[in-house]
Amino acid sequence: MKRILQVTLLTLVTLFLVSTAQAQIRIGLISDLSGATSDVGRPYAEGVKDCVKYINDQGGVNGQKIELLQVDYAYNVQQALAAYNRFKSQGIVALQGWGTADTEALVRQVARDRIPTFSASYSAHLTDPNIAPYNFFIAADYSTQFRAALSYLYNSWEKDRAPRLGLVYPNVPYGLAPVPAGREYARELGFEIVGEENVGLGDMDSTSQLIRLNRQQPDFVWVGGTISSTAVILKDAQRLNMGATFITNIWGSDEQLLSLAGSAVNGHLGLQSAVVYGEDVPGMEVIRDLTGGRHQMTHYIRGFASMYVMAEAIRIASEKGELNGPGIRDAARTLRDFDPMGLTPPISFFPDDHRPNMSVNIYRLSQDGMEFLATETLERRMDWLGK
């Protein structure tokens, strides 16, 4: 009798565990919490995790809770590969990725295994479904951001001569990715490109590069680095009394830059693809509640939005009864001007075009914070897709 009771209990417990396991939607999260990009990787991962918490607190996606499996891959491709395989064996239906090297190393694998991947690497070629059929992200790609910045600068240019543009970027894939597109569009608009210089991501000095560039008297300088190199560049520019307005790309300006560069940031511009903390959008209330009113970096907000958009695709797939990789991918492609609570410009994906939008927010940087100037939206030109 006792044995029968034991077996019954064991079966019931197993059934319960299996049923609860089935009720979960498993998502993998590859984060950099301890590697080269951990300063921005940590807040981004927190944003993703908090969004899952928010969705689960709201009752999940169509009643199913999201279970997030997180691995810190320390910005190492091999570890990202191992993490991905681990997730795959644990039965994930979608993946939240992180950087350029790992996202690109996984492009073919996620396509083969049909696992939709939302990453924070915004390389333009990832938006071309012919190259990366299962890759998505929620920010305009690096090339579109660069073009939008140029468009904004050109439209606000008032002098009756061509604006002079200088480029400063690191000689690494992330820095080089948008440069050809930017160069081409600058010429198309009527900019005069007066010089290009390389400043490495870890460089502590950029004086010689800026002196050379300053001789050409640029009106604007595009900075394609990350926070520490941008801080170095802005400080050196202040020391050299450069008259140019610097405009930094998405990983080059955040709250850390304001404290690192101090007064050197005043008057310069920064690009963002999500709002910054404290702006008056519906999603900010949710984030305030989740974080107890603690100030969050802009990367956190993008992480949150990335997961929020993915959850919407999962919801649509689930309603259609296709809660699997291809189902979520197809659902994401049906999104049209989806608004993630105002946290980013509206998101649309198409079967032949994975560019989320053509919009970039432009902020004026100052020691006291980032002041929203405008959202610059470009036309969705097909000849720009993937380039």
Partner: protein
């Protein structure tokens, strides 16, 4: 006939055998039998780790031949692996079958390695390290800027290897391919070390002047070491490229070169078996630390954050501890463990 106690060699040929006793042969055969069967009982994550280990074994054994056996320090091994990856990738993208492409990739890497090995006649130790570091930087620069061939910053997408119509498109299938090449690489290096060239490499490592005075052509053998080592690095790169199916310059940065150096230091410089141990150890270390962090986070929710942040520190600490307490690496530990069981309960 009465059995003998200990090993007695009556010819040099017998002494230089890879396996001396029947017990050794049986153990290795049994090990391989288990290795061939075990992936069927593992999940794809565990098999993928085995794949990474197999590729790392090829890279480590090739670097160990150059650095451990011939004494030529190389800080450019990561880039040599990259040359193999790109060369193989370009060939397969142009319609070459996988095997010829892989061999071509290895050959191109051998050539590149030998070109960068030319300064080794004049340079030694830290100077050679800096020369190979220059190779690392130059090659990565070429990967990044020769866009028409390498895809530049965007990188290069590849397909799974196909050999005679059979596609190695799962981790399990890939395991047998990578294992085949890993075994081949290990056997190749083991056999090279038993030849005249191998003995010349060791002589050059131990003291180049003595080696030269007994008639060893330093330049020829140093170049040979660079050539063979780079060939195998190219094979490792070709396999890596077609395993990950997407290569970008970031994958072959200086960090990879240091990773391979750490493998042969932890495994044991100059030891083929040590290269294997080092590759296994360093591939599994981050996974092991991750698992420990996962378990700890069950008891202390926030500890995993601190633990993960310490991971690089732990890696460095392990390296330093090896250098202090076991400079001969895991291969020496393995020898000591074997001796212990052989001699027990006697001390000698």
């Amino acid at each position: 006939m009465q059995g003998k106690c200990g090993l007695f060699f009556t010819t040099y040929a017998k002494e230089s055998q890879v396996f001396h006793t029947g017990f050794q042969k049986t153990s290795v055969a049994l090990f391989f039998l288990i290795l061939l069967v075990v992936p069927f009982f593992l999940n794809s994550y565990q098999v993928s780790l085995l794949n990474l280990i197999n590729i790392a074994v090829i890279g480590a054994v090739s670097l160990n031949l150059l650095t451990g056996s011939c004494g030529q320090i190389s800080l450019g091994h990561g880039a040599f692996i990259g040359v193999g990856a790109y060369a193989t990738g370009v060939c397969t993208l142009n319609g070459w079958p996988f095997l010829p492409a892989l061999l071509f990739g290895g050959s191109v890497t051998a050539l590149v390695g030998m070109i960068f090995g030319i300064p080794s006649l004049r340079l030694k130790g830290i100077y050679l390290a800096i020369a190979t570091l220059a190779a690392q930087l130059i090659l990565v620069y070429i990967f990044l800027h020769w866009s028409s061939v390498t895809g530049g910053a965007i990188g290069m997408g590849l397909d799974s290897p196909v050999i005679f119509g059979f596609s190695f498109d799962t981790d399990l299938k890939m395991f047998y391919l990578t294992l085949f090449f890993a075994v081949l690489a290990v056997l190749m290096v083991k056999n090279i070390l038993r030849t005249k060239s191998g003995r010349a490499f060791v002589a050059i490592r131990d003291f180049h002047l003595s080696a030269e005075s007994v008639g060893i052509n330093l330049f020829r053998y140093k170049l040979q070491a660079f050539g063979v080592s780079s060939f195998l690095a190219g094979i490792a790169g070709g396999l890596w490229a077609h395993y990950t199916m997407y290569i970008t310059p970031e994958q072959f940065e200086i960090g990879l070169s240091i990773h391979y150096l750490a493998m042969i230091i932890i495994g044991g410089l100059g030891s083929v078996l040590g290269s294997v141990f080092g590759a296994v150890f360093l591939t599994l270390l981050p996974e092991g630390l991750g698992i420990v962090a996962d378990h700890l986070s069950g008891f202390f929710p926030n500890i995993s954050t601190y633990f993960l942040a310490m991971r690089d520190g732990i890696f460095g600490l392990i390296l330093v501890l090896f250098l202090i307490f076991e400079p001969d690496g895991l291969a020496r530990r393995w020898q000591l463990a074997k001796s212990y069981f052989k001699l027990h309960p006697f001390a000698h």
